[in-house]
Structure formats: structure tokens, C-alpha cells
Symmetry: C2
Subunit: 495 residues, 2 copies
């Protein structure tokens, strides 16, 4: 057979020569979303086959810190132990703001109300949390501690609409390997439930009928083409498209300003293309998490960011991904973080943030950077004047981070786009219902097709609102919903 299969074109069910494999639910991708989908589908009694393109599980989830954004319903054990009470409506409001101008209210609502139960589910799967709290601003704990401020909860404008609460929960693991630990727990559960796992299995096309109802997958495995039938549903959890630079160029070309995509080679957009091939809508394809993880050291949060005209542009106490969003909005690549001797500490080496200029006065720094007289120096003067009064009328930085930058020597740190570390991954993907069902442009569900994780467009869908842990929260929670709903789907035979 010499058929040219394509992710962009469904293979027609009436052309299937034979079914090489049949099951209830086919899950594509063994990251956190796929694992969660498989667990719930299998737990609900469905036969599940999980297809993974590589030889091992984990995907991009395993490369992460494993942090998950959780809270509401009064608070998780870690939140309560740290003295926080997290109201569901505060979580709801925060997530609505974090979702940006097209936040998905139906998903935010169901997640806010069920986030605490999702925490319990994660623990039941074997994910361990120490339930301790670290109050400092940081990317992720390097200790085995649990709870951190992982978003912009305490920062303007979020703080004005939602009572702040830390919600980033990291598994109990020493170092930055919590994602692997999370995946190990989920993968063990997948195996214990008897899910049929097929590694080295690449999905080539969806199998659909003329109405674009999905019936299965064309899969390449061991050099063989196999036609696999899903009686109840196919769940696409194949990651985003950060590693497919051709797609990035056509959908989110601003990301090409950075050479630091986060992902595995599997984040090539195949999942999104598969969903689109049967009329699924792929939305917010220009949106991404794009960050400058400049803290810790936390003291640098007391510094100020300026663009290449010496203008400030953000309250520096918000989440580093929100700062990345605003950096990308500036014209020009030169971005500086200004600090004085009192707050200066070297940023982590991996950030590639070097020193651009040093001076005994801000005028000297301004000059050394080649900025016109009265630009950067005026910006600092204005900031210092207000900071001394404990306020920031321009950007509303929180009082605890306001301190005049008046202790020489002064330094400008070089955060240039194209040189410094701007990790990024894509947030656009298939539009889905809270059930995980992929929908068309008119938001009609496509029968037999589900998606979760970065193959879908979920809770995180706006670079200005990203918070650490949102992607894994979305992937695990809505992966579960997809698994549950696929398992419950009424098959044609049983109708």
C-alpha cells in the first residue's frame, strides 16, 4: 500500500482495509495530559491504548519542575498549613484575568470549583507533596518544599480583583526534577491499571467518516502501518508546536526572537494538525509563555526594567512570564534591568543576563549605554521619588518591593532579546469544551475526538497571564475530563 498519509487529512474509514487493533479509547501522547486521560478512562472501565511516539514516557511534562497551580475551596493542605485560606471565587477571578481577553469561563469555572479535589486526585495517584511553603519569589523550589507564589497574585492588577494566595504546588523532590517525579507517579498508575502502552508509535492520520466523526488512527509502529479503531474516542495529548519552527514562524513569529523553545521534538504541532484535519478550530495560535526568569535572586525584583529608550514598562513584581509578555511588546531588542548596590546580586548563570554598564551615578550608566541624556536617569529619578513615598503611580508595583535605587555603584543588567534566556512554549491549540471534546469553529463537538494539554487551548491562553503550574494544571485536569468523557461516550453499537 503506498497511501500518502497526512496529519492534515483524515484517512477515510471506508478505506480502512482491516482493523489491526480495536479498543475503546486511543490516547495519543504519554505526557501528563495523556497519562491523566488514560488513568481516568481505564478507571472508568474503558479499554485504553496509549500511543507514544518516543521510546519513553514523560514528554515535556517530565522536563518541567512538576509544579501545578492548585487551590480554591478553602485551600490545599499546603495552603492551609501556611495560613492561607483560598476562596474558590478568588481562584476563579484570578484565572479569568490570567486567561486574558478570551478567557474560557466554562473551563475556569469547573477548574476553580474542582481544583482542590484535583489535588486529592494527584495525591491518590502517588504524587507526594511535602506541604511546606517558601515565601520568597523564585522560579521553582530547589529543595523538596511544596508551595510557592508562582504567578502574579500579589501584583497589580491581579491583586485588586482577587485576594492573593500562593498556588504553585511542586512535588516533594530535591532539585528541579519534580516533573519527572510527577510523571513517574502517573506512569506507574497507568501501568497498574493495565493500559496497553505502545511506545515508538507515531500517529500519521486520524480515521474519520464523511461527517468527520473520528473512528481511529493510522499509526506507524515497527515500520508497519496499523489501522487502530477507537470505539469510544481518540484523545490527542501530543503537546504544542514550540519545536516546529516553521509553524512558529507562521503563527507566532515573535517567538523566533528567542532560541530557547521548551519542549521535546514531539512538540511539533502534529496533535493540532490532526484535530484541524477534521474541522477542529485551533485558536490563539500566536499566544505563548515567554519569560525572562530573572528571579531568584528576589532582591532584583526591587530593580526596574527599562527598554532601549530608558522607559519603564511594567511593575517588576509580577510573574516573570508576564514581564516577558511586556518585554516582547517593546520595540527594539535592548532591555535592561537596573539595580543599585543595595539590591544587586548576580542572576543565575543560565539566564545569560550579563552586566551592560556600571556607574557611580545613573547619568553615567545612561551615558555608558548610549542613551540620550535625561532618559534613563529621569526614569530612575521619577521611580526613586515615588518609591521613597512608598508608591508607584505609574505601574503600581507593590510597596514591599519599592526602594529608591540610590546606593552606588549602579548597574544595568543586559537582558537583550536574542541573547538572554527567554524560554518559551506555545499556548494556542485546539478549542475544546470542558469535557475535552474538540469543537469546530461553531463550537460544535466533533464526535469521537478529544484533546488536552498543549495540543488544546486551555486555561493558559494569554502570555500576559501565564503563571507557573497553569499548563500542568490544565493538562492533568482536562486530560482527566477527556478520559472520563471518552470512556462514557455512547458507541454506535450500543445505540
Amino acid at each position: 500500500m503506498t497511501v500518502d498519509f497526512s496529519a492534515s487529512r483524515p484517512y477515510r474509514v471506508h478505506h480502512v482495509p482491516q482493523w489491526d487493533h480495536e479498543t475503546d479509547v486511543l490516547v495519543v501522547g504519554f505526557g501528563a495530559a495523556g497519562a491523566s486521560a488514560a488513568i481516568e478512562a481505564a478507571s472508568a472501565g474503558a479499554g485504553v491504548t496509549l500511543l507514544e511516539a518516543t521510546s519513553g514516557n514523560g514528554g515535556t511534562s517530565a522536563m518541567s519542575g512538576g509544579e501545578i497551580y492548585l487551590g480554591g475551596s478553602g485551600g490545599t493542605p499546603a495552603q492551609r498549613q501556611a495560613g492561607f485560606s483560598d476562596d474558590t471565587e478568588d481562584l476563579f477571578r484570578y484565572l479569568m484575568m490570567a486567561g486574558g481577553p478570551d478567557a474560557d469561563e466554562s473551563k475556569v469555572r469547573v477548574y476553580a470549583e474542582n481544583s482542590l479535589a484535583h489535588y486529592d486526585w494527584l495525591v491518590a495517584q502517588g504524587v507526594k507533596y511535602k506541604n511546606t511553603f517558601l515565601p520568597e519569589k523564585m522560579m521553582e523550589p530547589v529543595t523538596d518544599d511544596c508551595l510557592i507564589w508562582s504567578g502574579s497574585e500579589e501584583a497589580w492588577p491581579f491583586v485588586e480583583q482577587a485576594k492573593p494566595c500562593p498556588r504553585g504546588h511542586t512535588p516533594q523532590f530535591v532539585g528541579w526534577g519534580g516533573g519527572r517525579m510527577l510523571m513517574d507517579a502517573l506512569a506507574a498508575r497507568v501501568e497498574a491499571l493495565g493500559v496497553d502502552i505502545r511506545y515508538d508509535s507515531r500517529v500519521l492520520a486520524l480515521i474519520a467518516d464523511d461527517a468527520n466523526n473520528v473512528h481511529g488512527l493510522v499509526v506507524r509502529n515497527d515500520g508497519q502501518i496499523r489501522f487502530m479503531r477507537a470505539r469510544k474516542g481518540v484523545i490527542l495529548c501530543a503537546g504544542g508546536f514550540a519545536m516546529n519552527r516553521d509553524m512558529v514562524r507562521r503563527y507566532a513569529p515573535h517567538l523566533l526572537r528567542s532560541d530557547d523553545p521548551i519542549g521535546t521534538p514531539g512538540d511539533d504541532g502534529t496533535g493540532i494538525l490532526l484535530g484541524r484535519s477534521v474541522g477542529g478550530a485551533a485558536i490563539h495560535m500566536n499566544e505563548a509563555f515567554v519569560s525572562l526568569p530573572f528571579y531568584a535572586p528576589e532582591s532584583l525584583v526591587k530593580g526596574i526594567f527599562v527598554n532601549e529608550r530608558g522607559q519603564r514598562f511594567i511593575n517588576e513584581d509580577c510573574y516573570h512570564g508576564r514581564i516577558g509578555h511586556h518585554i516582547m511588546q517593546q520595540s527594539g531588542d535592548r532591555i535592561y534591568l537596573l539595580a543599585d548596590n543595595a539590591i544587586f546580586e548576580r542572576p543565575a548563570e543560565f539566564t545569560r543576563i550579563d552586566i551592560a554598564a556600571v556607574g557611580e551615578t545613573w547619568e553615567e550608566v545612561e551615558q555608558e549605554l548610549g542613551l540620550p541624556e535625561g532618559t534613563l536617569a529621569h526614569t530612575v529619578e521619577l521611580y526613586n521619588r515615588h518609591a521613597a513615598e512608598g508608591r508607584d503611580p505609574l505601574f503600581h508595583k507593590g510597596e514591599k518591593w519599592l526602594k529608591p535605587l540610590n546606593e552606588p555603584p549602579f548597574v544595568a543588567l543586559d537582558c537583550r532579546i536574542g541573547y538572554a534566556f527567554y524560554p518559551h512554549f506555545t499556548l494556542g491549540g485546539l478549542d475544546t469544551l470542558p469535557t475535552g471534546q474538540v469543537v469546530t469553529e461553531k463550537r460544535e463537538p466533533i464526535r469521537g475526538l478529544y484533546a488536552a494539554g498543549r495540543t488544546s487551548c486551555g486555561l493558559p491562553r494569554w502570555s500576559g497571564g501565564y503563571s507557573s503550574g497553569l499548563s500542568l494544571a490544565d493538562a492533568t485536569f482536562f486530560g482527566r475530563q477527556a478520559g472520563l468523557n471518552a470512556a462514557r461516550a455512547v458507541t454506535e453499537e450500543s445505540q
Copy 2:
């Protein structure tokens, strides 16, 4: 028959009960792109049926000023008559910059080299140009004059890479109705060529085979469903999606900040959905022309724009659409245009730009606007200092527009997003080759399917580079290519 047709799902050719109509080329949409496609296909000897959803021709093209971005090859008659020589490479470089980070070099190349010939073609179709030049900065001539500066050619950074030349060509028509005149000429030509025109004909779905080759259209006309066969090709010229606010929300939600979409009800995205239903890639869906047409009066170009922190953000002598792009990048809705007594003139009423504050000093204006002390006033002081020296080191505004704003009274004009006039239309759409062929994500052409105009993503694809006349240039030129190439397509019968 009670089939539920959908633009998101092709109707399968083996289900077609009978062909109600057969021709070589089916063109969808009777705006400038569709008319140009029909003219070229018919001129090449193809049988052409043109389907228009409304009862008349013109679409959004007829609502426009009819301006077309033309030049290169030494210059059009209007350019040469005004003393300009327009080098093809300058046009090429300008269009590459205007296309932004993912400019389509192959389209830019073919357009730059053939733009002058395209001018001749337009004249041959009956479009009349007076070939006079108006040097003032304006939206469009209200007289019957022809040539204007319609982009950012003289402005930084364009001026540094491409020798400036005015390229906006408006038909000879008194008032802002040049688009209707352009369409009348093209429509008369379509009729003269014997094209079979079907008004009130709504396309419901593409007809495709299992390999997603396109064979025709399902059309509703007179309450009847008709299956129409295209032996050589279907050309989608059905406009963009500015009027489909659900689509705008999911693809370009920042546009919802303005209530002024430009378009007809036909700009509902149907053309894009049809193309996607057979695996066509829709790219740069977040991009749009979004403008604040604050000039004429030209003197206001000597003013300066500030955001709600009193910061300048753009060289004010660039095209108003590029200014709109930068306005949309500012956080906050408050945008002011500052002028002194020497340059102040009232903006046109339709701009809804009112006076926000007046003062005898800039400090007074600053205070009246409620901005912190030393923000706006400092911005003006810095600008004035450099302007007096004939330079703008921060934003590189051209010297002829630099004048200290030092003659009281001073005024801040209110350009608030959500109140002032920010017209916009979408630039994202189907990815096509210079031949007009719609391509998949892997850039493989879809057999039998073409697109042009705002259904496609063409020369204009970045809000920061839009110039008046680019959309009609793209629609007419690449509409022609689609028509020509469809007419020349080899049919299955003739193979």
C-alpha cells in the same frame, strides 16, 4: 435531503447526487479579488461561474477608497509625472519590511517585479487614474487626484532600507468613493467577458474527494441546494472575518477593544473555514490593520503621542496604521496626542478625537490629565530639546516633522481606545502560493483550491507594516494569479 452542510466539513464527492451545474472555474465572492480572478480565468478561455452571497457586487472593496499600492520598474505614470523613479528593489525591500517577521518573500518578489504591469492591467480594465500627486499626508484624496504617500515610506525604519516613493494610487473620482469606481470597472469587465454571475448564492461547503482534492461547491440559491462542479478549480475570495466577532474573539481578541470593524456582513470568515475544511492552513490570524486615522490635518503629525504614563512610543510621521499597531501594544486604554497652538487643528469629526486637556504650560496639561508630576511634561521637554536640534534620537521621526511644542496654549487630544475611531479589518487567512493555490501546513498545494484577497494571508500580514492600498494590491494581483492558474489547471479528464 436533510444533510447538515458545514463550511468546516467538506461534502464528499461520492455523495453528490447529481451535478446541478458544471464549469471550469468557480469563484466565490464578487469583490476585487473575485472579480480579478474571474476576469483572468475567463480571459484565458475558462468557463467561469462567479458566486456572490449578496444581491450586488463590490464587497468590502467597494466600501474602500479604491487605493492600490503600485510602483517599481522605474515607476507608474503618476510616479514619474511627479518626479519619482521607483526602483523595483526599493519596492521589494519596503514590502519585505511591511510584511513583518514572516513576510512572504515569494509573493513580495513577484509583486515587486510585476506591479507596474499590474497598473497597466488595471487601466486596461477601465480603471481611470488622473496621475496627479498630492504631497500632503492624508488618508485618501477627497479630490480626483491619484498619487499619495500611503504608507511609512519616508519614516523610520523603512526610510533607512528602501528609498522612499509614494505608491498609493487612487482612481479618478471626487470624494471617498474610489472603491466603488474600481469595482464598477472590474464588474463591467467581468460581465463583458460573459462570466456567469450568480447573486444571492451562498456557499455552504466545499465538495472534495477522500484525498481532499476539491471538485466543487455546495451552494444555496433561491432556497435550493445546488451541487456545482468546478472542473479546474474553486477560488475563494470571500473576504476576511472582521465582522464575525466570535472569530475575532478567538483569533484576534485585541480587536474587540474597538467597535469599528471595516467590512460587509460577508466578512464572516466563511472563506477561511472552507479552505481549512480540506486541510488548508490559516496563518497569522491575530494580525489586522488597526488604525487611528488622525491625519489630515497634516500639522498634527508634528504632535507627539503618549500613553497613559505620559511616555512616547512611536515616530509620529509613520503611517496611521503603524501607529495603531503601536497604540495596541501599550498597556492601558488612554492615549493622547499632544499639540501646541502652532500646529493645532481639529481632527476630522469621524475620528472621535476630542480635547482631553488644555493648559498654558505642559505641567498644567499633565496635571489636568491626572498624570504624575514629571511624566508628560518631561516627555515634552525631552522631545522639544531634541526637536530644536532637528533630531529625535528616541524614535527617529523625520526632521521635517520636528518642531518644539512650545507655543501655548497646549492641548492633549483624547485618542482613547474604546472611544476614538479605530477602524480595523483582519489580515490573517489561508496560506497560499504566489499562484493562489491554497497550501497545507506542510505547504503542499491542495488540488483544485485557490484563494485571494482577505480570505488569504497575502502581502499585508503584519499590523506594524500595513500601508493603504496593500490589501487591494494583494487582492487584485493575486486574484489574477489565482484565476490564471486555475484556468490553466490540468483536469483529470485531460490527463
